[in-house]
Assembly symmetry: C2
Homo-oligomer: 363 residues x 2
């Protein structure tokens, strides 16, 4: 079942960036810089070749790529756009075999769009899929980890093309060493992780997520009803509150941005108030001290009018928003998945409840 | 001028360890563990082959090896003795050429002895020489740095055989990234640094320092006069004070041990008091607030009776000691050398004065 390789138009790339603000769950970094770099790369060197894992030979080597660190830093410390070529060189030298494709590490924010630039600049196709189906803050929070696949040898590359290649004892050590390296490099850097053969990658990869993000963005852009309704049609949205951001606290440290935002209800939600806590991504929504929605479901703060997602580093007082959640990709809803990315993995002592069991769909 | 390869007897290894407590200038780590590992390796696998750079072909690859981090941690977090084999694998994979010999990074403390174990276990000869001629705390404080030779690609390996390979923009970045990695790994780890061809290595390498350390140890062990006099004959000792350690402050952080010791004079030095400040190695001796001896000269706290050096992590209240200094290797006394390891490189706003211009020899 080999699909013909396709590429992405400039309009597609814009839609991809918008789709990635939705799937991000607040993390992954503001896609704006990534979109500009992707457009620049495509204009300079031609379109990205979007591939399926099935297009590759079973032994072909792929590696996932993404920015790691605090999105607050990514907004200022900008990649050079060619980190992918360094990742390619280091991984090829280490494994002694040519790299055949990049795979987005996560499909959220900047990290859904920037791999387009890296792939084009490194002359490699980009697999239409990723290892999270959304964005998560830590490097073991990837589907291959659920299958016992090692993230090592991994490589961290900064915008000066400095490279740190890591062979860790396990994926928790990899997260620790890569996160520390990213902190030393100034708070964010590009990483190449989970090198796999195409055959191995077929098992964990969540497929078609670039296409999905493009479709979400297109649905919002071309909507003839309210954009929130169009988005609902795409992802199945469970609104939590409609209101105004009245408080945001963020601190950037140890390669993460952590904090919370408070949204006060307006309109039919007047009198209610929720608190969203985040570690790069939105982790939980609390109301009256109770967890109302949690990871791994995707909690997104949406602009009330445009239905674009607002990443955590851009949240600001006064924004008119809808806080909504929608279903996590299935691998994270299994008991193995919940061990890695469920509420307890982030220190919340509650059981996970599927968003569809708590809230009603938009009406 | 090819010298026949020689090896080191078990007695030589004991002498090497003692010599390394002298050349260390207080740093490099307690050689005891290194000596035990070297003896174990030699008993299990046969003697170390001690080589000269001239024994190698000009294109042969060598790499320097040593423990990096806080000696206080090295005393508890013990190497597995085979870190050298991982260094060898990573460097060979990175450079695509076989490694032909190890070179001690520094000739001081643990780091003068442990490379024997690494060389034997990795099946490589060990070059009789090093890149400091003593011990220093930071990784740019190596003679190749004075010649513009890059420490990268470098590798940090821990006792679990985790490996982090670093390609830094310059040697200051390399120190930052390697030091941070070592901290993440628990405070100390083995490093492979400054990969060079034998031809390149000839320029910066301080030759014959293993032999020199063995001779120092042998002179102390076989002395028929006071061991301090035998040591004086070997290194040209400038005594600073004879007395008792009355205060030690140490803190272990960021991959270093920093602190100071106070020695109160006894005998003919009664009424005097000096303060020794250290960052792994002894940096300065202060008396009445004035720097009396500084890096790069080798400041050593000697046991008054045995003339063995006491490394900084072992200094303790009540020890009867002679604090003495002797001349630094010449490369560090040049203006380029002093920029890297002179008192100002460690934050002391004084000019370097050669120890022989301040003190008189032992009499």
């Amino acid at each position: 079942m080999t699909a013909p390789p396709r590429s992405l138009t400039e309009v597609d790339l814009g839609d991809l960036a918008v789709g990635c603000t939705i799937l991000a769950g607040g993390g992954g970094g503001d896609p704006r810089v990534g979109l500009l770099m992707a457009l620049h790369a495509v204009r300079e060197r031609g379109p990205v070749s979007l591939a399926q894992l099935d297009d590759l030979d079973p032994d072909d080597l792929v590696v996932s790529v993404g920015m790691v660190g605090a999105p607050t830093v990514m907004a200022e410390k900008i990649p050079n756009g060619d980190e992918g070529s360094v990742v390619r060189r280091v991984i090829e030298q280490r494994l002694g075999t040519p790299l055949k494709a990049f795979l987005p590490l996560e499909m959220g924010g900047l990290n859904g769009v920037l791999p387009v630039a890296w792939a084009v600049n490194a002359g490699l196709p980009l697999i239409d899929g990723d290892l999270m189906g959304r964005a998560f803050p830590e490097l073991q929070m990837c589907t291959p980890h659920l299958h016992g696949i090692s993230a090592s040898p991994a490589v961290v590359v900064d915008e000066r093309s400095q490279a740190v290649q890591i062979e860790a004892a396990d994926n928790i050590w990899l997260e620790r060493l890569a996160r520390g390296t990213v902190s030393l490099l100034g708070g964010c850097a590009c990483a190449g992780l989970y090198p796999m053969t195409a055959e191995t990658a077929r098992l964990p990869t969540i497929t078609g997520t670039i296409s999905r993000a493009v479709e979400i963005g297109r649905a919002i852009r071309t909507s003839t009803t309210h954009p929130l309704l169009a988005l609902d049609q795409e992802v199945g949205l469970y609104p939590i509150i409609t209101g105004k951001v009245i408080d945001v606290t963020r601190r950037t440290a140890d390669g993460f941005v952590r904090g919370h935002a408070v949204v006060e209800g307006t309109d039919h939600d007047k009198g209610r108030m929720v608190r969203i806590e985040f570690q790069n991504e939105n982790l939980v929504v609390l109301e009256d001290g109770q967890e109302r929605a949690t990871v791994p479901d995707i909690i997104t703060v949406l602009d009330r009018h445009t239905a674009h997602g607002i990443v955590t580093e851009n949240l600001a007082y006064g924004m008119r928003v809808m806080v909504a959640a929608f279903a996590s990709p299935e691998p994270w809803r299994t008991s193995a998945g919940l061990q890695v990315v469920g509420p307890r993995a982030f220190g919340y002592d509650v059981d996970y409840t599927r968003v569809e069991d708590t809230f009603a769909r938009i009406s």
